[in-house]
Symmetry: C2
DNA sequence: CCGGGAAATGAAAATGGTTGTCAAAATCGC
DNA sequence: GCGATTTTGACAACCATTTTCATTTCCCGG
């Protein structure tokens, strides 16, 4: 229905890592797209609600979004330098979370798991001769 | 040095779960403490910087703090209803995070892991009996 | 006890991401 | 074409957090 929402989704698909609403907005405007910030926020929220994109909070507390390849439950390995993101599965972690919750009598157990690091490209020594 | 910082720390110790700066401030004022909101923010940040309290972001993006029993690396099992928090260890998760990072050539790997659920007290049926 | 300088404090203003408002514009159904 | 419905986006409102800056407190030598 919404060409704007699709445009937002497309913009996100072109990005490798997680992007904030403001990022997406700026990029779309830069490429000549005619869209308002409010609409970008709404599109992003709608996409997240529909499970079309993943959302998490960065260190600044901003919501950042990413169009992941899979709709399955997964987590992320994110380069804190360049933002390069790898989707990773962790069956052990899934089990662990469930177990830990059950051990303490918790139900409806969910979890958040994110892994950060410096990717190989970014960890290549710059000053090494 | 700072009696204020100690007061903030004490207030946090009296809380079972994670509390926001505004929460702590409100509670301290309620109990008659003479302190400003700015100072509460600063004390909380300082305590977090010194590893004296744990900090994470709640669903609203607010920073929430907790005075944990151990200074060791650990994670949390949090009741999303009453905030009841259990400190949990997850050696398997620690290993998994390292492994996943290494497999993809990432270095300086860190992670965030939080488990949420409904604690036994909160999951007791209310209308039953 | 006195004074100066550094550190701590907090009221008020600024910041900034996000959400709410609401009128205009686009779309739909007929 | 036309009214009903949805979408859009400029702008204002929100609200947690930060910054500012003048005042207060603390520390310490004299
Ligand atoms: Zn990188
Ligand atoms: Zn998982
Ligand atoms: Zn509970
Ligand atoms: Zn860990």
């Amino acid at each position: 229905m919404s060409s704007r929402r699709d445009a937002v989704h497309d913009t996100l698909r072109q990005s490798e890592g997680f992007r904030s609403a403001q990022d997406v907005y700026a990029e779309m405007r830069q490429t000549g797209a005619k869209i308002g910030l409010t609409t970008v926020y709404r599109a992003l929220q709608a996409l997240a609600d529909h499970g079309k994109v993943d959302v998490l909070r960065n260190d600044d507390g901003e919501s950042v979004y990413r169009a992941c390849a899979t709709g399955e439950h997964h987590h992320h390995l994110v380069c804190r330098r360049c933002g390069h993101t790898v989707e990773v599965a962790g069956p052990d972690v899934e089990r662990w979370a469930e177990t830990v919750g059950a051990e303490h009598g918790f139900t409806e157990v969910t979890h958040t798991v994110e892994v950060f690091g410096t990717c190989s490209s970014c960890s290549t020594p710059v000053g090494a001769g």
